[in-house]
């Protein structure tokens, strides 16, 4: 076995050194009646080329030949080569949680930088070193708000990612926590009147996503004012944090949480991703997850350590703020490297490209007779289009053109039959977007009337 460093002779020498005659004696403490008889029935052993072949065959049965306009909480963005090159350093990816700070300063400093980047993006004062993903980060934010307010009810926008709401329901379902969902209004934004009806003196927090699951940006200022008037906390969940390069951060919120997969982490069929949670300084002792803090060594040099561990399970056990043990360090590192590479200007330019491409696509699709954009509020790189006719058939037709044309929202909202959630990032080129518009037009029985293709000097400079 190529991963094992012992030779047969090493094994016999070592057995002899501990006074044993056979390897079976190593397991003498396990009663015979509890031992496995015979071998496990497993495939293998395979050589390295056979393993590669097996997974290449699996990888071929995928959508890799398709242009994807799927978003809905998992976003395709170009990943600069340097991200992968740096992640591949064994000192990073084969290290454990940095409890032994003196030989983990690399991980610790990178996580401190991650925390800083998240606070800069979200407008918050403190961020943790990451959580499993956006769904669990949102759930942890809700639990944190219940601890802070000592209240036991939650108000959640129906436009929070449906799977995030399902995870929340799993965590709080058995605790008698009442979760009230608030619908969207005609514009696609949170319905304010319904929100006001839902909040009561037992409401611990209101959870709003922006851009929400329909792609729509929420106007957070007014929501925050109302929530705070009721002495509840405002939690803002963000699934596409690239939007924060163009939109003012929800600085009025008490907790900003979500998913940072967009920043250099592959879509990878849903994981691993990287959740984040940021809040105000006064709440840090109720935060879940690991925190890296700056300190100094005995000679006065700056260094970093895991801190405020008194909140965590390995110290507090059943009284911990969360049962979380791991964070998503390596994915947080990917996000950190990615954000450093892009920098302020790069991130803004990228966000503008996403914005332009999504708006271009929305305009093109809406031209098809029978198609429409049902929600009027501002959006970023994702929007809802009402399909001209049967959405399933349209998606199948787009698949024939090698395009994954969006998520059929009926899957999550029965009332949104024939509504598609379309996400356009920088990875979709204009050719594919125009092809999609032609399918829409054809579908509606009309020939396409696209905007004149323009690759003039103004647009070329936009990058």
């Amino acid at each position: 076995m190529r991963y094992l460093p012992h030779s047969p002779q090493d094994r016999s020498e070592m057995l002899a050194a501990i006074g044993l005659h056979s390897k079976d004696e190593l397991f003498a403490q396990i009663p015979e009646s509890l031992k496995l008889r015979g071998d496990l029935k497993l495939p293998g052993p395979l050589s390295e080329p056979e393993i590669v072949e097996f997974f290449q065959a699996a990888a071929a049965r995928s959508s890799r030949e398709y242009v994807s306009l799927l978003g809905a909480g998992a976003y395709s963005h170009y990943r600069p080569v340097a991200v992968e090159a740096l992640l591949a350093r064994g000192e990073f990816f084969t290290a454990y949680t940095p409890y032994q700070a003196e030989i983990a300063q690399g991980t610790l400093q990178a996580l401190f930088e991650f925390q800083t980047l998240i606070t800069q993006l979200t407008g918050m004062e403190a961020a943790n070193a990451s959580l499993y993903d956006g769904s669990t980060a949102t759930t942890e934010a809700a639990l944190m708000a219940m601890r802070l307010t000592r209240r036991n009810q939650l108000v959640v926008a129906r436009t929070v990612h449906p799977e995030y709401r399902q995870v929340l329901a799993t965590y709080v379902g058995h605790q008698g926590t009442r979760v009230t969902e608030v619908p969207w209004s005609a514009s696609g934004e949170l319905d304010r009147r319904e929100l006001e009806a839902a909040v009561n003196p037992e409401t611990a927090a209101v959870i709003v996503q922006s851009p929400n699951f329909l792609g729509v940006m929420e106007r957070m200022g007014e929501i925050a004012e109302f929530v705070h008037r009721n002495a509840a906390l405002l939690i803002v969940a963000i699934t596409e944090p690239l939007s924060l390069a163009l939109v003012k951060p929800p600085a009025e919120a008490d907790i900003v949480c979500g998913e940072a997969q967009s920043f250099g982490v592959p879509v990878a069929f849903g994981g691993p991703y990287v959740g984040f949670l940021a809040t105000r300084e006064k709440f840090i002792r109720q935060m879940p997850g690991r925190l890296v803090g700056q300190t100094q060594d005995t000679e006065g040099r700056r260094g970093f350590v895991l801190t405020l561990a008194a909140r965590e399970q390995h110290i507090r056990r059943e009284k911990a703020t969360s049962n979380i043990c791991t964070n998503q360090s390596l994915c947080a590192l990917a996000a950190t490297i990615y954000l450093c590479l892009l920098g302020e200007k790069g991130l803004k330019a990228l966000a503008e490209q996403n914005f332009s491409k999504a708006h271009y696509t929305a305009r093109q699709l809406a031209r098809a007779p029978g198609a429409s954009l049902p929600f009027a509020a501002a959006f970023f790189n994702e929007f809802v289009v009402r399909a001209p006719g049967d959405a399933e058939a349209l998606l199948a037709e787009l698949q024939r053109e090698k395009i994954l044309g969006g998520v059929h929202l009926r899957r999550f909202y029965p009332e949104l039959e024939d509504h598609l959630l379309v996400c356009v990032t920088e990875t979709a080129d204009r050719g594919a977007l125009d092809r999609m518009a032609r399918v829409y037009a054809r579908w509606a029985g009309h020939s396409p009337a696209l905007e004149t293709p323009a690759r003039d000097s103004t647009t070329a400079k936009a990058g």
């Binding site: 497993l42 293998g44 990073f92 800069q120 450093c340």
Partner: protein, 494 residues
């Protein structure tokens, strides 16, 4: 004694600033391709909510980013650097082919909402991984959704609750031995149960009489780790599980220590009803400096209806599909289908080994731990003196008499080129030194490690003060953790 390292040489990489301090306005590390559609104006569309600037954000070139993170990496110690004998953490080699296949276009790029016919490769990987884990644990069904071991625990306890609730009474308490991992009680609490601690017997194992007293009609079940955190197998496992079952409870097994058992014994065969596995421990997915992990839950048939939704099914035509129609499921614990990329790596590891390779791996892991124990027992105290499985627990009792504690010995080990063992855990051993060499340690490396610990024991006799100030060779000396917690600085400010 003569080769002892006393000083460190300064290095050019040792003063890498924070990336924010390296930033200069106007730089960037990427160039974008030209925009191929007419530009739209976000400023116009967003009005007042348009963001002008991201205060403090770094602006650096690609080279500076590469140097920055390369330098940071050199301040880390990983399994690739050397022996990493952290007890209970199973720091084993992370095969490179795992990383390569997890990055294949089609596996790394597929979208979780891609149409099922176009996601057959990913679904097959998940299904096949689950099938192998079921065989290894002896269980009947597996969900890969939990994102890490602690989430696996939570999922499992919620399933116990759902099952018992359907039988008429979810009950109130879960029994946990005092040697358990900290996540156990934390997960139980979040699941809405209360803890009752079980005091271990003189062997460090579960005391049957104590269990019998505690296992009342109010108790939903027992959560145990086997082998336990002392690396000792619960020899009365059959009696333990029979007792819990007879009183209407369930047995949850924390599979953190499965590296001791694969191919030798299966939890389902010795009485566990459900368990979680840690792909980042036993199945070589990298720890990544603290994650991502992956904590699949494996259950017996009667608990299958409660598994998180969706599950993955193989149809008679050989294709795979997601089943969301699971009325008894505890629900969803994570968006999408769990840490898929970790399943790819774990499956690559299982395929590389096959049954015989995994059995050999287990034997080597147990051999290594016993070798370390045998060669250190005359120098360090062994609180529960018996053969171990995959890890051994010593204590600092003798060294503490000279004022040197487990944490200090650990720091001094760093100077000898090793990552420390786990300190101060399990809690039932005062001054614990928990050593798990794993199968990835060669005999030579173990000999060096043993010599280092023996040498440190001598140093403690001669000059305890020197050990108390360790490490002496690292970029930073001991860090002030108390100060860090008293006035937390959690971000850089200009």
């Amino acid at each position: 004694m003569k080769n002892r390292i006393r000083t460190a040489r300064p290095h050019v990489n040792r003063n890498e600033a924070l990336i924010f301090e390296r930033s200069t306005p106007g730089k960037r590390g990427v160039d974008l391709p030209p925009l191929d559609v007419p530009p739209a104006s976000p400023r116009e569309a967003l009005g007042d909510s348009y963001r002008e600037a991201i205060e403090g954000f770094p602006e650096v070139s690609e080279l500076e980013v590469v140097r920055h993170f390369t330098r940071l990496s050199t301040w880390n110690y990983g399994v690739d650097t050397g022996l990493y004998p952290l007890g209970s953490c199973t720091m084993k080699y992370n095969p490179r082919v795992n990383e390569a296949v997890a990055r294949l276009e089609g596996l790394a790029s597929d979208h979780p909402y891609a149409p099922e016919p176009l996601a057959q490769g990913c679904l097959e990987v998940l299904h096949e991984t689950a099938r192998c884990l079921a065989e290894i644990s002896g269980m009947d069904a597996v969900s890969l959704q939990p994102a890490a071991g602690a989430q696996g625990e939570l999922t499992g306890i919620l399933m116990m609750r759902a099952c018992l609730a359907e039988r008429g009474n979810p009950r109130q308490y879960i029994l946990i031995p005092d040697s358990a991992h900290g996540t156990n009680p934390a997960s139980v609490t979040i699941s809405g149960y209360q803890i009752r601690n079980l005091k271990s017997n003189e062997r460090g194992c579960i005391d049957l009489a104590e269990l019998s007293r505690a296992m009342t009609g109010e108790v939903a079940g027992l959560m145990l780790t086997n082998p336990n955190t002392l690396g000792i197998f619960e020899t009365q496992m059959r009696e333990i599980s029979d007792l819990v079952h007879a009183r209407g409870g369930l047995v949850y097994m924390d599979g953190a220590n499965m590296n001791a058992l694969i191919g030798v014994a299966r939890p389902a065969d010795f009485g566990a009803d459900l368990m979680h596995l840690n792909l980042h421990k036993t199945f070589t997915t990298p720890h990544g400096g603290g994650g991502p992990g992956s904590g699949p839950v494996a259950v017996k048939t009667f608990l299958e209806p409660y598994l998180p939704s969706p599950t993955i099914e193989k149809l008679s035509d050989g294709s795979f599909r997601l089943n969301h129609d699971r009325p008894k499921s505890v629900g969803r614990v994570r968006a999408f289908y769990g840490n898929f990329g970790m399943a790819v790596r774990a499956l690559a590891y299982i395929l590389a080994n096959g049954a015989e390779g995994l059995r050999q791996t287990t034997e080597d892991a147990v051999l290594n731990a016993n070798y370390v124990l045998a060669r250190l027992r005359d120098v360090y105290d062994v609180p529960y003196d018996q053969p171990c499985l995959h890890e051994c627990v010593l204590s600092d009792r003798r060294q503490a008499a000279r004022g040197v504690r487990t944490g200090d010995i650990a720091k001094r080990l760093i100077d000898y080129g090793f990552h420390p063992y786990t300190t101060s855990f399990p809690l039932i051993v005062h001054g614990a030194m928990m050593i798990e060499p794993t199968e990835s340690a060669s005999q030579d490396e173990l000999d060096e490690f043993i010599e280092a610990l023996r040498s440190i024991a001598e140093e403690i006799e001669e000059d305890p003060g020197f050990v108390l100030k360790a490490p002496h060779t690292t970029r930073v000396a001991r860090l002030d953790e108390v100060g860090a917690a008293r006035k937390p600085i959690l971000r850089w400010k200009p």
